[in-house]
């Protein structure tokens, strides 16, 4: 019970920090989803294969940069506060989403695209009726990865004064107060799990059964 003492005695505070945390995540991640899919789509349009491959290698390499490094860099250029933190989170979430969108779109079977074109679909129709729907598994996994990483990294962003659950964890670290660290870490984990579960559900809802079946084969 020792472990839960801080948690149980500070529920309003923890709820507030959780909300802050969620807010940091939601804003930065949502913008990253839109931007990432957009870059992924733009860089894979026919005739832009070179740009597509470039985006893939850049985003592929960037995924290896540690989250603290991104936060540190943003701090150097933008200072402290929630806004720089959100910017860092945005950049960090952008990478897996862009990477997965581009690689998903590049892997759409050329036969399907040729058939679609030969049947008289416009480029926009091919994108929305064929390419994006068949790339949903790849795009969704990028979005989910980004969400989980984002929520985790948002805790680190407390270093640059972003607020959120990271604050509780860092204070706990300084005071060597395990109960405090736990009270900050537990909601972070729960939040990540909840968001991931929700997104998984959403993915299942919008993805065609046909894709699931063809993956099994």
């Amino acid at each position: 019970m020792e472990l839960f003492s801080y948690f149980l005695n500070n529920i309003p505070n923890i709820l507030e920090k959780t909300w802050q945390h969620f807010y940091l995540f939601l804003i930065s991640w949502s913008i990253a989803v839109v931007t990432g899919i957009f870059i992924g789509v733009i860089s894979t349009r026919p005739g832009k294969e070179k740009i597509g491959r470039f985006v893939l290698s850049i985003t592929g390499a960037t995924q290896a940069v540690p989250s603290t490094a991104v936060i540190a860099l943003v701090f150097i250029f933008m200072g402290i506060g929630a806004l720089p933190a959100m910017f860092a989170l945005f950049i960090y979430s952008l990478v897996p989403i862009t990477f997965n969108t581009a690689s998903g779109l590049m892997n759409v079977s050329p036969d399907m695209k040729e058939a679609a074109m030969g049947m008289g679909m416009t480029k926009t129709q091919i994108l929305f009726k064929v390419e994006l729907p068949t790339s949903i598994p790849a795009i969704a996994s990028g979005i989910r990865t980004a969400a989980v990483i984002n929520i985790g990294t948002a805790a680190v962003a407390a270093i640059i004064g972003a607020g959120g659950l990271g604050e509780i964890i860092f204070i706990g670290l300084r005071l060597m107060d395990v109960s405090r660290i736990f009270a900050g870490a537990l909601p972070v984990a729960l939040l990540a799990l909840a968001v991931d579960a929700l997104l998984a559900l959403l993915e299942k809802k919008i993805m065609s059964d046909g894709l699931l079946l063809s993956k099994e084969n």
Partner: protein, 375 residues
């Protein structure tokens, strides 16, 4: 719709390479024209220029004498059916949605689309009730190919382009699909342009054949004329040394079988004795036996009947045999004869009712007419 290619050319690298080098020909309405030749001969390029998946660099393509330039590329493609070797079914769409793509692009009312999809599935011999809402991943290779064909027919186009549509299928299923496809074309009579590299397929399916090499037309003629009078050595080598046999593939059983033959109705003739007497009276050595509604049961030979007691049951002395259908080709008939060892082969309809027989002698006569032209 009549399609005329006028000095059609496709150059790459500013004329350094000519994939298609000024070909002119008129594709006949309601006929299936096969484009054939070795890889790199320009057949697929020619096909894809017709729906502008590849843009030509010279000459013109005219639909009923109207230049392809005067038509909107997207609208043109919606009016031309298109089927490709790897089918390219949309894996995230059901069979229904796959077939409905072009009708939906053309904004047909949903009820009309539904009727059309059902009609097409029946045409390609797939039960709509069972298959309509399946996904491509749940279908066999042959079924996918049929859906690919159905999809190319969806909006009832006048012209259909097919790029080796049966190329990715194993030989046995390919034969079946080809047979089914011949029957479909008999019904729909579309202008079809069909690319293949398989000369047997070309002879079997084509009303007319265009033989191409190095971007040029080597010969363009009715299939029978190509087989009978190859233009030059290139065409001869493409046809192969067994072209007399291959020639049998383009001829249908329906045009060559006879309805005048000896058969025994097992409903009336019950004993070996009566059957034997009947066959001998007709001076034959065997006869086909039919049952209720004229359904083919098999055949019996006098040789075998003679060894039996004349009061024996005829049914126990009937030997089963393979049969062919009117849309089978003569090659299939000859194979059936070789297997049964008989000098004829029974012809039945889809309900297995005996329609007639095709005689070995007829086949020999046809082959020798090919042989003669070869000399």
């Amino acid at each position: 719709m009549q399609i005329r290619l006028d000095n059609l050319t496709k150059e790459y690298d500013n004329g350094a390479f000519k994939a298609v080098d000024g070909i002119s020909l008129t594709l006949e309405q309601s006929k299936l024209t096969v484009l054939i030749g070795p890889s790199g001969c320009g057949k697929t390029t020619t096909l894809k220029m017709i729906n502008r998946l590849i843009e030509r660099t010279g000459g013109d393509i005219l639909f009923d004498e109207k230049s392809i330039d005067d038509m909107d590329r997207i609208q043109l493609r919606r009016k031309i059916g298109y089927a490709i070797q790897n089918i390219g079914l949309f894996i995230h769409m059901s069979v229904f949605d796959n077939i409905a793509v072009v009708p939906r692009l053309l904004k047909w009312p949903e009820q009309k689309i539904k009727n059309r999809v059902e009609e097409l599935l029946e045409l390609v011999n797939l039960d709509p009730g069972v298959n309509m809402y399946k996904y491509p991943a749940q279908l066999s290779g042959g079924q996918k190919q049929r859906i690919g064909v159905a999809r190319s027919l969806a909006a009832d186009p006048d012209v259909i382009l097919m790029d080796e549509p049966f190329g990715a299928i194993d030989p046995i299923n390919r034969e079946k699909l080809q047979d089914a496809f011949i029957e479909i074309q008999e019904k729909i009579k579309k202008t079809i342009i069909f690319v293949t590299h398989d000369i047997r397929e070309a002879i079997k399916l084509g009303d007319k054949i265009v033989i191409m090499d190095n971007g040029h037309i080597v010969q363009y003629d009715d299939t029978i004329n190509v087989v009978n009078q190859p233009e030059n050595e290139f065409v001869e080598s493409l046809l192969g040394s067994d072209r007399a046999l291959k020639g049998l593939e383009m001829l249908r059983v329906k045009d060559n079988y006879i309805k005048d033959f000896v058969s025994i109705n097992a409903e009336e003739v019950k004993t070996v004795g009566t059957a034997l007497e009947y066959i001998q009276k007709k001076e034959k050595s065997y006869a086909y036996v039919v049952g209720k509604k004229g359904i083919l049961l098999g055949y019996c030979t006098t040789e075998r009947l003679k060894k039996r007691d004349k009061h024996d049951d005829l049914n126990e002395n009937v030997k089963k045999t393979e049969s062919v259908q009117p849309y089978s080709n003569l090659m299939e008939a000859i194979i059936t004869m070789v297997e049964s060892g008989l000098t004829s082969c029974p012809v039945v309809n889809s309900k297995d009712q005996l329609l007639g027989i095709i005689r070995f002698k007829t086949l020999v006569d046809i082959m020798s007419s090919f042989e003669k032209s070869e000399e």
